[in-house]
Amino acid sequence: MSGESIALIMSGLLLLGLFMGHPLAMVLGGTAVLGAIIAGKPMVLGIVINRIFGDVLDNYVLIAIPLFVLMARFLSDSGVTDRMFEALRHLMARVTGGLGLAVVFISILLAATTGIIGASITVMGMMALRPMLQYGYDKRLATGLIAASGCLGILIPPSIMLILMASYAPGLSVGQLFAGAMMPGVVLGVMYAIYVAVIAWLRPDWAPPVADEEQISRGAMWRMLIVEAVPPLVLILGILGSLLAGIATATEASAIGAVLALLIVITRGRFEWKTFYSALLETGRTSAMILFIVVGATAFTGVFNITGGLRASQDLIRGLADDPYTLVAVMLLVVFILGMFLDWTGIVLLSFPIFLPLVSEMGIEPLWFVVLMAVVLQTSFLSPPFGYALFYMRAIAPPEVSTTDIIRGVLPFIALIIVMCAMIILFPGLVTWLPTTLYGG
């Protein structure tokens, strides 16, 4: 059977399974088995086990994933974020658009401490959405802003997405990717802030200042900020500092982060065995969920490759693009469209084996390309119909906010992400400057 037919059949099965609502991990694994049988090569199924063991179980880099998940859980149990937001909210409330800016700044700070987005969006949504709506913020602006800012957590390091990407991109380390994604992540956050400021200036009624009677004394406010913000800052410095200053690997940094977060919980007197244990159980489920997608995807990719589907797909993309810019544009578009339907794990694991060889063939800098992918994948959380951030907002938002409001709210931010991609293409230094400075050429 030709590579083209097997590529078509396996993609068809993948879509079928997804739309049947079956777990992605199992759809990928099942498609691998069916694909091998349909291609008349059931004996290649042995590589499925070789790959699951070698790529997923015996993989030092991926140890960081459960540990960063655990750290996020401990951090949200610690209540640090709630109080940090309270303090910043009081600090910035007087300004037009101030609440919105507070959301962005806290989100960037949170993003630098956590590698996953669920915690950020949920915490910010619960903390910020109610006051924003109460003080007359536009529903769309408020929900879109919280959803988009919350997603920065997976772009600004540490990030489990970047860890998985490093594990799948030969020659790139987690440290390089963390350094490479740092500036794009922060700049994107700043763009969100500028957007809020511009909206507040053009339409003050969409982002009004907060009434005086809500405000507390400046002294209390600063005390709150210092007492509440310092421990997480120490955490950030501990993790990123140790990682980038050359002391620890990402895996080691994740373990340090988890234990520091636990210490913050304990020192704040919030430790309870019950919540501690449920954090472990929840981390177990979340880690198994993410890593089983890797299991399914490595099975899928192995069979897809050995049956010729991979080469056929690469030929297809080659046919569409004959210069590096068109190639990158095509790939960005593919990822953007996949992002409407799939979550980032599946997209990374399916697209990287196809894209990365083509990228190196064209002489494109792999670090730059991978970070560009990480940026465009921000849209996968926000783009309807399938986007985690939309689901989180829907779950948190009061009934008077319609799903349509949320979707219309995130659209400007999707546009900003696309602008960010364009900026990275025009100014590659945004990605490469920091890693080159830290790690040399």
């Binding site: 004996m43 290649v44 199924l45 042995g46 590589i47 070789n50 790959r51 063991f53 070698g54 790529d55 015996d58 030092y60 030969p170 020659g171 380390s173 440290g175 390089q176 050359g246 002391i247 620890a248 690997t249 192995g302 490759n305 050995i306 991979l310 084996p353 190196s360 790690y439 040399g440 050429g441």
Partner: protein, 341 residues
């Protein structure tokens, strides 16, 4: 027949050129209706550590490797891959082709249902590259955390006062950069240069006493091999012999070029003196005796290698200085032969 073959080397490592050379030669020597080998770069079908299992189980028919990776399955794979301060590349070629080495490859791989064609040989590896502490004497090794491959190699380094750190090739650069390790050996100078080690290490200590020469080749599932006619089998062997000769010259040329590139990049190169090497030789002999005596098959391989050295010594030494390499003052043959029983 149609074979699927992969390698332990990703396309970014120059070692894969040896595999590709053999595949291209074999495919051009053999009619398409007899056999076509489809080659996939390392990592694209199975991860490097799983190539052995994939060929053993017959999932794929052939896998290119460096035998030392499989020492966890049988320590006899180690001397098939390299020796600590014993063989040079010509010794491996002599031993494999005329002193019974080829049979031992097939005996060890045969235990796992595979046939082995050695088709690549590289001479002495670079040696250790260190970040900020030069290794000029054996004492300088004391307390250093060094990335190093191999069982005998690790034990030898521990005897010399250093600590072995095992890590995959892809992790070495960053670990040097961040001081997770003090230094590393990886491969020959050309392969090291392609890994960018000149950017993160100031010092280079030659020679590569831990790995005086290395062998590469292809594992072939026995059933797939037996399915071929004799003509095709012999053409695969011919391609292997031709590739082996080419690989030696190719790597030495590239290593020479890379040596100049390292100097140009400002790397300080120190050679351990002969007295130091003599002391390392003694420790290496001890290590080999210890390791060989834990596994009769490993002892059998070592006994054959040392037997070759002793046999060849008479003519090699007589033809000095026009001889090929040196006769090392190697491990105790009688003792190792005793362990091979």
């Amino acid at each position: 027949e149609n074979w699927t073959m992969t390698s332990t080397w990703p396309s970014s490592l120059e070692l894969i050129e040896i595999d590709k050379h053999w595949v291209e030669l074999a495919n051009s020597l053999i009619d398409d209706d007899k056999l076509t080998i489809e080659f996939y770069e390392g990592g694209s079908l199975v991860p490097a550590g799983e190539v052995f299992g994939a060929v053993e189980s017959g999932t794929i028919q052939a896998g290119a490797d460096w035998p030392g990776y499989w020492a966890g399955r049988d320590s006899a794979f180690s001397p098939l891959a390299t020796t600590a301060s014993l063989f040079n590349a010509v010794d491996y070629v002599n031993w494999i082709q005329e002193w019974g080495g080829a049979d031992l490859y097939n005996e060890v791989y045969g235990k796992f249902g595979m046939v082995y064609l050695p088709y690549g040989v590289t001479n002495n590896e670079s040696g250790f590259r260190t970040v900020d502490k030069p290794i000029k004497t054996i004492e300088d090794l004391n307390g250093l955390r060094l990335r190093l491959s191999g069982l005998e190699q690790g034990k030898l380094l521990e005897k010399l006062g250093g600590n072995q750190v095992s890590m995959a090739g892809g992790e070495i650069y960053q670990s040097l950069e961040r001081g997770v390790i003090d230094g590393a050996e990886f491969s020959t100078p050309n392969v090291d240069f392609s890994g960018g080690f000149q950017q993160v290490t100031k010092y280079w200590s030659t020679p590569g006493w831990h790995q005086s020469s290395s062998v590469f080749g292809v594992m072939i599932n026995k059933a797939a091999w037996d399915a071929l006619d004799e003509e095709t089998q012999s053409r695969l062997e011919t391609a292997a012999d031709a590739t082996m000769l080419w690989s030696l010259a190719f790597t030495e040329k590239r290593a020479t070029e890379a040596f100049a590139q390292f100097k140009e990049a400002g790397t300080e190169i120190n050679r351990l003196d002969d007295a130091a090497l003599e002391q390392i030789q003694k420790m290496a002999n001890q290590t080999i005796e210890e390791v060989a005596c834990e596994n009769p098959l490993s002892a059998k391989v070592y006994a054959s290698q040392i037997g070759y050295l002793q046999d060849y010594a008479s003519w090699r030494d007589a033809s000095a200085p026009f001889n090929l390499g040196r006769t090392p003052n190697g491990p105790d043959l009688a003792k190792i032969e005793g362990c091979a029983q």
